[in-house]
Symmetry: D2
Subunit: 279 residues, 4 copies
């Protein structure tokens, strides 16, 4: 399907200026094709842009003078999501995992898989390994955690969410990642534009490494997996902030959008196995 | 039933001496009668002893000179535990709770009932209020938490135990208290001598305020409720340390015992409602 | 000095009603005399009121029907604060502390004195014991922690505040209490009306037990110690909430005031030793 | 200088077998040359070995049958450490940092730089940027944190260490990394063989990115920086475990050694700037 996605972000930069690193551009490669895109920085200024080799994350770095700074990104994306039969997708024993997936078994800032290991094994250890087990993890999170704004903040870990039983999309993703890692399944955090997400905002989901690729999972079930345009991926939210800011600024309201450009309109969350990742 | 209980505690007190506050003596009053008791402090030294009015906890305070200090306490206790029918015991609405039980609704050092409130209400909120609900809490803890030495320490809270799913008697008690408070049931921590506990040691259980009195609960189910000799009670383990020490000492191995003196030998953990408390 | 203090608190009580326990009335006794006071509950309804023996906290409990509930409290208070010379006030060795002060040496929900014990002893252990040492603790907090709204919430402990180095009055009080307890000085939390506090709100300070009484300390230094009208005291903020609510309500904006009624106007924070407590 | 380093690690592997991933081999490249090395696995079995491209970490993965498993690694290493003048080494503004260093600015499992940011900036923000500032961070840690076994465990974060003021080498490294990241200096965790370390064990230090390379720092000051043979580097200890084990095993005592093979014997910790890293 084709999607038109984008965002507008603005800051009032205070005296002394600021260096900002953005990760808002859609990833290319894999089954996510960038048909066209446009980035506008107002006022115009020098910036450098790089793509991280391992992840495909695209970083835009600029040093802004005091005053108003506005960034507008828009892109037209063709998603050729791979749909697979869940029942055919297995977990990979640690003995056979590709080396580059191993770091995604380690605990990270927001995903302390060491702390929740006993629970994960008690609750999910008896389920047949494979795509279905990760789906069960999502089912559990969806049933046991309330989606509520204002209950978590930027210091909230998956262990906190597990205790508090409330959170938003990033917390849901962190908890899913944490359980997967505790079970020996590499899992990573993905930020994205999400078609049909209401209200529109940057969304957070996760990928688990199963079979021979990374599959998308969204424990919030607030948007269709095959309508997600991947922006950044990493260990957890610490790696995929849409903006990292060094200097004093006042953030202005942001606007995010994601619209379908063709008739391929799904209306429900799907339990299909969906993969878009290039690596 | 009659029990012979006691303990031997020793310290090597270093230069500078130490002030020690012990809470090892059996409480009197209520349905726990002290038939006889004997306290030996070696070497002999002045001490003061007081009973806290609200709780009945007995504190022995002494200032020890450098050298070896040994405390031996032994007592003969008659327990006339009140056994009630669980089905007849109700929870008390907050609007009718005695004022002096209200502090036992507040979160404390090891029982952050605020953090686990949402879970407690999701898991236990739908169960009919009363003794049976607290029993369900104990069932849940017993089923979901592993009794394992070495998994917790003196900084471990009930939120930690909830995440880690492992702990010892004090952790089980803290978790039970936390869930009760989150549901509006006053609950407090009780240290005790526990007949049939293997291996013998100071034990930790909890009391919930139901109907018109405090009832004992032990989520570990490692000893009979009507064979427990209460020593200290308070908000949580922070209030009921068997020894609080100011100064540098080296603790020696402790010995604790609890033996039945008559034929009233129960061999199993009971689901009866058991109350011994004087207040 | 004479003060006119009070508050207006309101709730929209939802279907099902709610039980509310308020602790907003000024304590009597000690050097805080209630000249007159008036409590208005709208709509009028039955309530019970009790004073906790150990603390003097006054609790107002009522069960509200659905609809609007408004509470207005106003009082005229004569404060005859005891001013002592700081240099004459000593710490009390644990061996000599009154039994009833011992619970205030224990760690509590927001004051994990066990976790900060090493720091407290490194930083303040070398200072001469006495009132001056607690003043040094306040100096340190005032210098090292930023007073900032929005950096802490109701789950924030003194260990969090110590790491984050920001908080509000309750966090400042919790940190002061934590350091005192770690040094063997009983300390407790006090909620109060605070004359000259800007903006007017319920304030939080702490008391340390020194010499033969409880002395007030305010690490925020935002109001005069001898213009504070004590409302509640306890282990920490968990014990002194101005309102504890069981049931679903929507809180309305609150209003708090504290005005001097005579000419005894101090304008600066004082380093005098000030005591008002009755116990 | 030339060093002979190595280790012996053993496990009793239980029924079901285990997959083990070791990271015990010295890195090659940069100024650390492997003259010779020998790896013995007893009983002999298939294993695969790979070097992570970004870090140079060498992973040995094997699937062990039940029974005794022993690994012995020994290597002869030539260290040609680059010694630079501390005064000439500057920090790199975020605007100019190489892209691949940016992940080392993010908070990680054991290095929650977001939580200690305010303190880091209060304490070290006023110090002139550069190698000297990171040295000041090490000085502070060395002065303010006690090196004590038994005070931390595998769940201890730098925020815990900051509060508790005690820890071991990994905790010292985590705290140093955390402060650096909070100040905008990329920092990473390094596990190593450390000549002169007493008692001999795997050691943990950290590297900060300054000028155009990674420099070693050791806040414990327990071994010479130019006698450290790098084994693994990553975000924190979560990335550099010497053994990651999937399956049930009983670890046997390990032995680690590090001996100088030539006369270039330094006897003191140095404040020189030392770099060995290949990237």
């Amino acid at each position: 399907m084709q999607l038109s996605v984008g965002c507008e972000i603005g800051y009032e930069v205070f005296d002394g200026g600021a260096t900002l690193i953005f990760n808002i551009e859609a990833m290319g490669g894999g089954r996510q094709h960038i048909i066209g895109e446009k980035l506008t920085i107002t006022p115009f200024q020098d910036s450098d842009e790089k793509t991280a080799e391992e992840t495909g994350n695209r970083y835009l770095r600029l040093t802004a003078a005091p005053g108003l700074l506005q960034i507008r990104y828009e892109a037209q994306i063709e998603l050729d999501a791979l749909h697979s039969q869940p029942g055919t997708i297995n977990e990979v024993p640690v003995a056979k995992l590709p080396l580059e997936t191993l770091p995604f078994l380690n605990p990270s800032r927001y995903c302390p898989s060491d702390q929740l290991a006993r629970f994960a094994n008690r609750q999910f250890g008896g389920i047949a390994p494979g795509f279905g087990r990760v789906t069960e993890i999502c089912n559990w999170i969806n049933a046991e955690v309330d989606y509520l704004f204002g209950t978590s903040d930027t210091t909230t870990t998956a262990a906190d969410t597990f205790s508090m039983r409330a959170g938003v999309c990033r917390d849901f993703a962190h908890l899913g990642i944490t359980f997967c890692r505790a079970l020996g399944i590499p899992a990573r955090f993905v930020s994205c534009y999400a078609w049909q997400l209401v209200p529109q905002d940057f969304h957070a989901v996760f990928e688990a490494y199963l079979g021979d690729r990374w599959y998308l999972f969204d424990a919030t079930r607030m948007a269709a997996l095959d309508g997600m345009v991947r922006i950044g991926c990493g260990r957890d939210a610490a790696d995929t902030a849409f903006a990292t800011i060094y200097g004093a600024v006042n953030p202005l309201p942001i606007r995010v959008w994601s619209d379908a450009l063709d008739g391929d309109i799904r209306q429900e969350w799907t339990t299909d196995a969906v993969s878009v990742s290039r690596n």
